[in-house]
Symmetry: C2
DNA sequence: TTGTACGCGTTATCAG
DNA sequence: CTGATAACGCGTACAA
């Protein structure tokens, strides 16, 4: 192994003719060092190509300057083409980069993976942890928070833990969409709900229920898991159980996309016979046949907001327990 | 800050009634420790909830047990819905998890981001670096390799550096697809090429050129950047310049998707008037109108293979300079 | 087989 | 404003 010995503080100090302590001060931007000395130190640093050893620094400062983003790999969504997780990753990455922190990505699929995440994060190998959209009532966020480790979730923790979270306004967005359908004269509005062990699935269904109930309309529900396959099945089920439906709100664009095709195969015309609204506004939504009316969620911004909250917590500030990002109805041709 | 003091080796040693060194041996799986003592140490570890301090360990072992995956954030592709980068991330994550290593994700979009990546990786804060599909001739991989830092790229480095890489067989896949078009009787086969500063863009064009040339057919080329927008523009351009074309090979499924729509708008029927073949086999490909015939690339496997190579290099082994993963033609209805 | 003692590269405290 | 010097927590020759 070509272990080209890296220069240390010591080496820089010798070259600059000062003490290690002084070099450290300059490197860390202390203002209490005379200008000419700073100059000399900086020259030495440049000449030697000195780069601080993070491990040594961490050992004494107790900070790692890195944050973990935990993704539930099991969720097929992670790598389906809805861009939810890539979007979150990007937002988190942007905000961490701005703060000069590292992003440690942990895919927690298997039980073994989950145990690994627990061991690693609770071992304080990172300064804070971001949880993206967990399934079920994962106790880990609450556990870490109780250990005093900064934690932020995307979506309200389902186990009721008092962990700060950021989420998009599912309920508000869905309510707007369903009201839009009602205002367009639709009266038999069905929904293809998402998985009920995920906040996004739960809240989008709540939004639907509240709105149709308020309008005195019937609830027509089928369940899916956000994927296209499940959307196809759910659409067929709805058609079989409620042949008279005149609109469908799908809890994800992928399910809406599948619904479009299933409706066509069933001989229904969109939007004349049946109006379809999705949720997410993935890129494909503008290219479906017909282009999909959907609810846009600010997914990159979600990642950024989570990260900002986490950084504030890590800095010792207190943050609001919940933060809700606005969603927006994007009207195209399917409704 | 709730800095619940973590137990150290020292504490475990006291509780178990042995020396620090012995505890260290047990923790690191040395076999030279008497069984009863191992037992006692393990009990103490469990009781105290001891977790090794990675920074301290890194300081002495010179290993960080973490690897960086560098993504060019600027590429709009990263967060378009083609799943290329998510797929790579997943593959890398799986393989690193199996090796009990951490994944540090670095989005290198801006020049500042690039500098940051260089500083971080050349500072040996990771045990190795994976580069995903760079634009242009980035000198960083070569530079790191020369510093003795394990590096693996996805795709042949464009600056000619002798860095090991893994890639999918672009040329072979495209050749098969184009021959398939020829065998179907198509004679005026156009291509919508990808960006020529990326290996994937270059090689896919090469595959097209070699195959049409070998068949004595004309080259009909328009350029895009893998996105749908660029696909729309390229398709219109091709139609204007070569109204007689009877087939199109698009260097990405997104461009192919856009081509489908552009062709429909131009009154051409797919596949009767014009056959369309894409590249990637994204999930959407099975849901386009008509479903897209395309070349499937094993993208998750690409991530895994890159990681395996990197781990081998980091372990001191030597690996083959290039590794090519097979691609496969998936025939649906568009050609 | 076990323990002692040193060193890894920094930051922080405290004199000067 | 600068320089010794003591931690930080661990792995590992070396000695016992």
């Amino acid at each position: 192994m070509t272990t080209a010995q890296r220069p240390t503080l010591e080496a820089v100090a010798r070259l600059a003719g000062v003490s290690r302590a002084t070099v450290s001060r300059v490197v860390n931007g202390s203002t209490t060092v005379a200008e000419p000395i700073q100059e000399a130190v900086r020259r030495a640093v440049a000449e030697l190509g000195y780069v601080p050893n993070l491990a040594a620094r961490t050992l004494v400062t107790q900070r790692t300057d890195s944050f973990a983003l935990v993704l539930p790999e099991a969720a097929t969504r992670v790598f389906s083409d809805d861009q939810v997780f890539p979007g979150i990753i990007r937002g988190v990455g942007q905000e961490l980069e701005a703060a000069d922190k590292q992003l440690v990505l942990m895919l927690a699929g298997s039980p073994a993976g989950h145990a690994r995440v627990e061991r690693y994060t609770s071992g304080r190998h990172v300064d804070g942890v971001l949880f993206a959209s967990l399934h079920g009532a994962d106790p880990l966020p609450g556990k870490l928070a109780r250990l005093g480790i900064p934690v932020v979730c995307s979506g309200r923790p389902l186990d009721g833990a008092e962990v700060p979270y950021v989420d998009v306004d599912h309920v508000g967005g869905v309510a707007r969409a369903v009201r839009y359908l009602i205002d367009s004269g639709r009266r038999r509005i069905a929904t293809m709900a998402g998985p009920q062990d995920m906040v996004a699935g739960i809240e989008r269904l709540v939004g639907y229920r509240e709105t149709v109930a308020a309008a005195g309309l019937p609830e027509l529900v089928a369940y899916g898991d956000f994927t296209r396959e499940s959307g196809t099945a759910a659409m067929r089920q709805l058609l079989a159980e409620h042949p008279g439906l005149d609109a469908v709100f799908a809890a994800s664009d992928l399910m809406a996309h599948a619904a479009l095709r299933a409706l066509r195969e069933a001989g229904r015309h969109v939007p004349d016979d049946v109006a379809v609204v999705g949720f997410d506004d993935i890129e494909t939504a503008a290219y479906t046949e017909p282009p999909l009316t959907t609810i846009r969620q600010p997914i990159v911004e979600l990642g950024r907001a989570m990260t900002r909250q986490l950084l504030r917590i890590a800095a010792g500030e207190t943050v609001e327990q919940a933060l809700l990002l606005p969603t927006e109805l994007v009207v195209r041709d399917s409704a």
